[in-house]
């Protein structure tokens, strides 16, 4: 394939088209989806993959940690069936833990894309099913010790073969998940989305020819690479290190987990080295390699080209050193149910390492966790319910301004909290408080953003998973700024007793019990003594800082 065929005008046309197709796939998926993880949390990604399993394009606005990682799932299918082994009308499902490296709820679906009889690529998506069977329910369960306890695995299986549905596989899914209507509804939406993407890419190839389109795509990748390199080049060469700590693995409670990263910059190339990362742990607070790679990629993307589209070219200037057996590269059959929990901290730690080199590019630490709760049980009529909600916290102070408050983590982009009114319509709960958490932002010339206070009163017997982290190592300040407040959770029992909880899986909740979440604030940036008086006064007047804390 010759690069010369890529006329700059055709390149621009193709660049716009391939992302528009991925966006169209995302629209078809999210609008028809059945679970809040897709339509509210946008825990999905859609994209086009070439026949070498490389990411041609990805939709805008999906989950940041799904960065150009659909390829490994498709590569497994190509290996299994070979490129000759796909037919029009095939649809493949894939969530196997070892290859995908993510919790099994993240199910990849893809369709081959043909131009005439020629296979030209794949349209793929990944979406978080609300349940995949196994011992884990909702967010934050520590119940599993190996992958087999975490649900069903489907490794590159054809759920449709030349347009005919595999009823056996369909039935296996139906019989092994807790919310089969939702799972199969999401699967239908995923399939329709892939078929749409495959059709569109085929149309593009029909229009311009395969060689031209592929030459344009190669050029788009080159441009993405060049844009990222230009930024890395401005970072002084050197080796930068930082560490931070997660609380524990949910089992050995007095042993913090060390998140250690080394970042090397040489010219326009950056290496994120996880050699000293905490070893894998016995519970589910692990990920496969895809977790470690995603963490490095989010940090890299945010630093180098946050406003450009995601594709295979963006990450060429990034190398990741990730030995097997760390908690970001756990060996099978490790449990990986909480695969993403460490990532906000990992990303912040990479940024912290670089902060002395490029202080103007890096804010203080944000809340550092994924922030969510789940309550589940049975309604009076016997039907099962599962309330999941994601809430934000404070982001770190910035070189030129205060941090934002009440925002979702760096791993979550266009992820929305669930309206209180909707939660009360659908679930047996009453929300008593949904407020900013005063005094939670770290002090600094530029203050950290505030966390959130959220109190649920449960109206029915149920269970909850509570999964707080970073309570020992708070969101740090930078350049003299103070730390943000840490996550807290209290259960006020109907009988008047109150307990602080950090991690609890399937804890019993009685009617009338209240559960209060206080989410972390962001770290401060710069010396608090330099904070202008009018900013301090404004904080006091609005009540986000109390007088006691301002002094």
């Amino acid at each position: 394939m010759s690069r010369n065929e890529a006329h700059p005008i055709t390149v621009e046309v193709v660049r716009n088209a391939i992302v528009a197709y991925a966006d169209e796939m995302a629209n078809a998926l999210s609008k028809a989806a059945y679970n809040m993880m897709i339509y509210e949390v946008r825990d999905y990604c859609c994209g086009l993959i070439d026949t070498q399993a490389r990411m041609i394009s990805q939709n805008r606005g999906g989950l940041p940690i799904f960065l150009a990682d659909l390829g490994v799932a498709v590569a497994d299918g190509i290996e299994r069936y070979s490129l000759d082994g796909f037919a029009p009308g095939d649809v493949i499902v894939m969530n196997q833990g070892e290859v995908c490296g993510q919790h099994l709820n993240n199910v990849v679906v893809y369709s081959p894309c043909f131009h005439g009889a020629e296979l030209v690529g794949f349209a793929a998506n990944r979406a978080h099913w609300v349940d995949i069977g196994g011992v884990r329910q909702g967010f934050g369960s520590y119940g599993s010790s190996d992958i087999y306890a975490e649900g069903i695995q489907m490794r590159s299986l054809k759920i449709y073969e030349a347009g005919k549905r595999n009823e056996t596989l369909w039935q296996i899914i139906r019989d092994n998940v807790r919310y089969p209507d939702a799972a199969l509804g999401d699967l239908r939406a995923q399939i329709a989305s892939c078929q749409l993407g495959a059709r569109r890419y085929g149309e593009l190839i029909a229009r311009y020819g395969r060689e031209t389109v592929e030459a344009c795509i190669a050029r788009v990748w080159d441009q993405a690479e060049a844009a990222a390199r230009a930024v890395v080049e401005k970072i002084p060469d050197g080796t930068y290190e930082a560490e931070s700590f997660l609380d524990n693995d949910g089992r050995t409670l007095d042993k913090p987990l060390r998140i250690k990263v080394k970042v090397q910059v040489r010219g326009s190339q950056m290496t994120v080295d996880y050699s000293e990362m905490n070893p894998q742990v016995p519970g589910p607070l692990n990920s496969g390699r895809s977790g470690g790679i995603a963490g490095a990629r989010v940090a890299f993307k945010a630093l180098t080209s946050p406003d450009l589209d995601v594709n295979e070219g963006c990450f060429r200037p990034l190398d990741v050193v990730l030995p097997d057996g760390t908690m970001l590269s756990a060996k099978p059959p490790s449990a990986i149910g909480l695969w993403s929990i460490a990532l906000p901290t990992v990303i912040d730690t990479i940024l912290k390492a670089l902060a002395p080199a490029v202080p103007h590019m890096i804010p203080a630490a944000h809340k550092g966790d994924m922030g969510g709760c789940s309550f589940f049980g049975f309604r009076d009529d016997g039907s099962r319910f599962l309330l999941m909600n994601i809430f934000g916290g404070g982001w770190g102070g910035r070189p030129d301004e205060d941090g934002e408050s009440a925002s979702v983590s760096v791993c979550q982009g266009d992820v929305r909290n669930t309206p209180v009114e909707l939660q009360e319509i659908k679930y047996p709960v009453l929300v008593e408080t949904h407020a900013l958490r005063p005094d939670s932002g770290g002090a600094g010339q530029h203050r950290g953003g505030l966390g959130v206070e959220l109190t649920y009163k449960l109206l029915q017997r149920c269970k909850a998973n509570i999964n707080l982290d970073r309570t020992r190592d708070p969101p740090w300040g930078l350049h003299g700024g103070g730390a943000g407040a840490v996550n807290e959770c209290f259960i006020h029992r109907a009988d008047g007793t109150e307990t602080a909880v950090k991690k609890a899986t399937e804890i019993e909740i009685a009617p009338g019990d209240r559960v209060t979440f206080l989410t972390a604030g962001g770290g401060g940036y710069g010396d608090p003594g330099k904070r202008p008086n009018d900013a301090v006064e404004r904080d006091i007047a609005s009540g986000v800082v109390t007088k006691r804390n301002a002094s």
């Binding site: 080209s305 266009d414 009114e421 319509i425 407020a435």
Partner: protein, 702 residues
């Protein structure tokens, strides 16, 4: 610029029996446009907006069009005042009252970060600060039951605080007020009694739908812009009455309809998008007149292009949008004509990035300095420069010859900013700009249809705006739209649309439950409540019951889904009784939009909607659109070289003067059809025909 009046857009005389004289005045950021039907003629004028006192713009545009105020029976008005008040954050000193425990609902919002990789993102900034947000003890649950009674003493105490704080407007939004508005209503009574001048907005009066953040934001928007818009409309009315204007004043609103000036003063939030929707409404009317089932309205101006899907003459409606940009704008949960906007217009700047990628927009050169070819010193090449260099636009006839375009300046800008760095010829660079803009617009226009499950091949495009007819055919070719219609007066078509808009008011009420398990009495009560509200509003605006059309819709979805599809419901009984007909409609619509359906799954309802409309009593603008075309005296064709698809091979092309083309005239591409404020480009192989009424109907080669 001085104003331009034109009371003679062709000798289009309507029957003398027509007694009504109506004018539409659209005050935009830069220009004030007027189109009217007066004494059987179409009149137009255009003048600069006077930002300090927009009502002067109305006076001036009426004078330019030689309209006598006493002779007019109705004035329709669109204005950017509401949206500008928000974008400039120059509204009233506004307070917010919330349920205790929820002071920060407005500040917290949904917690999302649209710019996912941006470490320096900005969330929406509330229009009302935290220190002016007050909690009141009260609580109602999702069923509308009172859990905590309203603390009336607390409200009375608050009255004094508001006065001390010199508050001009108050927004009140309590949890679940859509289900039971008693507490909000009582707070409203107390506040209004204590200070009749206070502008009070109660959330349930604006929108009775769950989602507390979006409802709070909508209520806050209304309160924030209220006093300023109220004063503005008051001044307008006083001015018109002083000029002996005897007629009705109607205000264009975002839902594509109009409302009385009195209602606009209470609900200014519903006039946010009053400008852009008018053209799409006009396109809808034209589609209806021409019997086009599915049309795409396409409006391209100086800075943006807009597109909307029109079905059976009715533009698609979206239940809310974000004002001021998705990432950090203000959510507004009211129906708005579903318009996709893309940053590609005649003034969009073409540029080369550091890696050699060529882009067009979204930055625009605007009107000043404008395109390089305006000769005002701009060195950035824009889409209009490219069209000039390609021979598509006539530098001598631009704006009816009022402005001569400088081709050399355009070529210089293209050479320096694009052709040089990319090692292309100037003509190649110009062609590239146009092709990139066309392709970007094609994707957006296509998305308008395919998102609703409509195949562009089964649509026709109605193109207008200053630049619309110039690009429409290329877009149609790109996405296989077989027919393009360029209406009469495409350059001022938007203002014409206002003269065809119906009176319209939308109502919504959350009703949550499974189809088949709803209590018939509850459903009937919701329908009755909505109908009552609709009748009251219509009566208030002087609409007689027999003029009004009441259309109910149900927001339905499969159990477990979030997004709903609004399905028309003829009769409340369909929701509580045999709902098989609704079910079939829903399954079919779901299949069309998302490529799949689940006829075995349970359906649930989320909201009931009521749309009350009343068609205009006259059809002056429609008559003018349908009236037989009478050409001006013939003007000889010109010929010039135009570049279509190969920069190295210009095509000797016929240049026709549209006003002189007779009905039935057939123009084969390649051709350029010029008229005072627009240019239509016909590509080789395509054929344009002048319809009996004077519209250009272009058959696009597939």
């Amino acid at each position: 610029m001085r104003g331009v009046g034109n009371d003679n857009v062709g000798p289009h005389i309507l029957p003398r029996s027509v007694l009504m004289n109506i004018v539409g005045v659209d005050i935009g950021g830069t220009f004030t446009d007027l189109v009217g039907c007066v004494d059987g003629r179409i009149v137009t004028s255009k003048c600069s907006t006077v930002p300090a006192d927009p009502t002067r713009g109305v006076a001036e545009s009426l004078a330019l069009a030689r309209c006598e105020m006493p002779a007019l029976s109705e004035l329709l008005h669109g204005s950017t005042i509401a949206i500008n008040t928000v974008l400039e954050r120059k509204g009233a000193r506004t307070a917010l009252i919330t349920t205790r425990g929820f002071r920060d609902t407005y500040a917290i919002g949904r917690g999302n970060r649209i710019e996912a990789f941006n470490l320096f993102f900005h969330r929406p900034q509330p229009l009302i600060p935290r220190e002016l947000t007050f909690e009141i003890a009260e609580r109602i649950n999702a069923k509308g039951e009172v859990l905590t009674p309203l603390d009336e003493a607390g409200v009375h105490t608050l009255v004094a605080t508001l006065a001390a704080q010199k508050i001009e407007a108050v927004a009140v939004c309590f949890l679940h007020s859509y289900a039971n508005a008693a507490h909000e209503r009582r707070v409203g009574e107390i506040l209004r009694a204590a200070n009749p001048k206070l502008f009070v907005t109660l959330s349930h009066e604006i929108v009775r739908e769950y989602r507390e953040y979006e409802r709070t934001s909508t209520t806050a928007l209304n309160a924030f812009v209220g006093p300023r818009v109220q004063a503005y409309l008051g001044r307008l009315e006083t001015h018109l009455r002083a000029g002996k204007f005897p007629g009705k004043i109607s205000i264009m609103r975002s839902n594509g309809g109009v409302m009385s000036i009195a209602l606009a003063q209470d609900q200014p939030v519903s006039m946010m998008e009053s400008g852009p929707v008018a053209g799409i409404i006009g396109a809808g009317r034209l589609a209806k007149l021409l019997g086009i089932e599915r049309a795409i309205g396409f409006d391209m101006g100086g800075t943006t292009a807009k597109a909307s899907l029109i079905t059976n003459g009715v533009p698609a409606i979206e239940e809310g949008y974000v004002i001021g940009g998705e990432a950090s704008g203000q959510p507004m949960q009211l129906p708005v004509v579903d318009i996709v906007e893309i940053g590609a217009g005649g003034g969009s700047i073409a540029w080369v990035d550091a890696t050699g990628g060529l882009h067009v927009g979204p930055k625009s050169a605007g009107a000043d300095p404008g395109p390089a070819c305006y000769g005002k010193g701009s060195e950035d090449p824009v889409v209009t420069d490219a069209n000039l260099v390609l021979g598509r636009v006539n530098g001598e006839r631009f704006l009816n010859g009022a402005m001569r375009l400088d081709r050399a300046a355009a070529e210089r800008a293209l050479q320096e900013k694009l052709a040089g760095p990319l090692r292309l010829s100037v003509k190649e660079a110009a062609l590239g700009i146009v092709q990139i803009a066309d392709s970007a617009m094609s994707l957006a226009v296509r998305a308008v249809s395919v998102k609703k499950g409509v195949d562009p091949r089964q649509t026709a495009m109605i193109a207008f705006g200053g630049a619309g007819p110039l690009h429409a055919v290329a877009i149609a070719r790109e996405i296989f739209v077989p027919k393009v219609i360029v209406p009469k007066v495409p350059g001022t078509f938007s203002a014409l649309g206002m003269l065809m808009a119906s009176w319209r008011q939308d109502f919504v009420r959350t009703l949550y439950g499974l189809l088949g398990a709803l209590d018939a009495k509850v459903v009937e009560a919701v329908f009755a409540e909505l109908a009552e509200a609709g009748k009251a509003q219509a009566a208030r605006d002087g609409i007689r019951p027999e003029q009004a059309d009441f259309a109910f819709l149900a927001d339905l979805r499969y159990v477990g889904q979030e997004h709903t599809i609004a399905i028309p419901v003829r009769d409340a009984k369909l929701l509580s009784g045999d709902f098989s007909s609704l079910r079939a409609l829903f399954d079919a619509e779901h299949d069309q939009r998302y490529g799949q359906a689940a006829p075995d799954e349970r359906l649930e309802i989320v909201n009931v909607r009521l749309v009350v409309t009343a068609a205009r009593p006259d059809t002056l603008a429609e008559q003018w659109l349908s009236e037989a075309w009478q050409p001006e005296a013939p003007v000889a064709d010109q010929w010039r070289d135009v570049i279509f698809t190969d920069a190295a091979k210009p095509v000797r092309t016929r240049i026709a003067w549209r006003p002189s083309l007779a009905a039935g005239a057939r123009i084969e591409g390649p051709a350029v059809i010029e008229e005072p404020n627009a240019t239509t480009l016909i590509h080789p192989g395509d054929v344009a025909t002048v319809s009996a009424a004077g519209h250009l109907i272009i058959d696009v080669k597939s």
